[in-house]
Assembly symmetry: C2
């Protein structure tokens, strides 16, 4: 496919062109930058929803049901799943297959797992690029779901228009453990599996924690109760998402947030590009292997080694 | 404190010198590289134990009890807790205080949370450096505990001599969700809160998953059942850790693993150093702010922007 043809089909929302473009940005293909330069001006129409929470909170079911809800209202939905596990065992591909069965081969629902994190890093950057591609391809909602709950995942979800944090009842004192990092990125909170014992307690604890948080935009995050497997509470969730999206568009904080995201993206891109420029130089890869060997044998140390490389 | 004095006290295991050196590597101080060059040759004596698992699995209690177990056998223990949440709200500091109460102000137990991840990244690198400092300071065991479960956290735990993955009963199908990434890094598995229902089922599921895994070293990871809050199963865990540490030292795979870790450390250091070199150039920070502003207003795009910066 020629570059112009790929872009034309991408902007027309053709799934194959979208998939191809995402693969290119994921792999850091030669024309990835060219694609993203064309894509960027066409972005900004989609509502990007980031969904995170601890493993076992039922995020996937919730995302699937939310996607179906939007689809039934004639919207086009893109789902980007950040799954750092896959480089080890192809977990993402399996995950995709299972989910394709649930959501069917519906042309209004596009699902993609992002997993490649090579030497150069770049998973966060590639994920944010994939979201931009779906946005430019005319998807009305783009849902970014993270499987892990770490630093990278938190940063990715922070780039969404609306960040949803999913909890389950009965986490008890453990809610404290995930408090800080995840709590403060949530624009909307979901207590999923709300048919289980302990919902009220979890809700009270969550309210108490949220009342302590100081949001620069003075937004009070709503708490939505869902039972995703039974499709309960999904409409409430969609309303909560919409209300924050509306709030954010009118707020002063919006441009400030966009600047912070742009700055983060620039640093991510720079980090990756600087390393790839260095590694593409003749002999650097061999030098790296040799130095790694010397360090493993305690004949050198990492700090002296990078001075040698950068010399 | 002079450089030579700091190093002397560090190698003597003085907590204040250790803390100071870690702060220096965390902040990327001017003399951080100098310290690490001196530290590196003195490393390799400690057994480094990485502990990960989903939030709510009771990792902190388990780490505390394990540390007390070692301490009661006259060992010196360092605990490095990777807590990405703290930049948002100082959660790590709070966590440290709570844990200092549990473990007391015992001079044979040193606890430190790593949280700073600035513009330059470097949390993974700083954590691995902190472990090396504790190793060089004469701590017999260094436990690295991650609060998050993401890409960075998985990579950090992979640098340990023994990686322990903590699960809880009753995760049901959700065990699938965390399967790939976390499962494949575990040298030892713990089912904590083993007084709860569903232990047997979780154990069976785990055994089934592990039987599918192909480890290059042909090690079969043991499964240990614990109730950390009641101090049950801690000795079994210590035995499982010891058996893998022994196995690893004799195996062929050991040097290969050390090389892979050295390579990863080099890339992490390079990534950080290249970016810091660029940002320290006159005017780059201002240029970055200006470009981030233009991107937020859609007057520029990230890919064109980094070309401008790198020009």
């Amino acid at each position: 496919m020629l570059h112009s043809e790929l872009l034309e089909k991408l902007f027309a929302g053709e799934p194959r062109a979208v998939a191809r473009a995402i693969t290119k940005v994921e792999n850091g293909a030669d024309d990835a930058a060219k694609i993203m330069k064309a894509v960027f001006p066409k972005t900004g129409k989609a509502v990007v929803v980031g969904i995170t929470g601890s493993p076992g909170a039922g995020k996937s079911s919730l995302v699937d049901k939310l996607a179906l809800f939007y689809r039934d209202r004639s919207e086009k939905i893109g789902i980007v799943c950040v799954d750092p596990s896959s480089p080890f065992s192809g977990g993402a591909i399996l995950g995709d297959r299972i989910r394709m069965q649930t959501l069917g081969l519906d042309k209004n629902v596009f699902i993609r797992s992002m997993a490649t994190r090579g030497n150069l890093g770049g998973l966060s950057r590639a994920t944010v690029d994939a979201v931009a591609i779906l946005d430019a391809a005319g998807f009305d909602k783009v849902i970014v779901e993270t499987v892990g709950v770490g630093q990278d995942e938190v940063e990715i979800v922070k780039t969404a228009d609306v960040s949803v944090v999913v909890l389950v009842p009965g986490m008890g004192d453990d809610i404290q453990a995930i408090k800080a990092g995840i709590m403060e990125i949530g624009d909307v909170f979901v207590i999923n599996k709300a048919d289980r014992d302990g919902v009220l307690r979890t809700e009270k604890e969550l309210e108490a924690l949220l009342s302590l948080a100081h949001r620069p935009d003075f937004w009070t995050p709503p708490i939505v109760k869902t039972v995703a497997t039974e499709n309960k509470g999904i409409e409430d969730l969609s309303k909560a998402i919409k209300s924050y999206a509306n709030f954010q568009n009118t707020g002063e904080a919006s441009l400030e947030r966009k600047r912070a995201i742009a700055r983060w993206r620039l640093l991510e891109l720079l980090r990756e590009k600087l390393l790839s420029n260095l590694l593409s130089k003749n002999g650097t890869a061999e030098k790296l292997d040799k130095l790694a060997r010397a360090i493993a044998e305690k004949k050198n140390n990492p700090y002296s080694a990078i001075e040698e490389i950068l010399k």
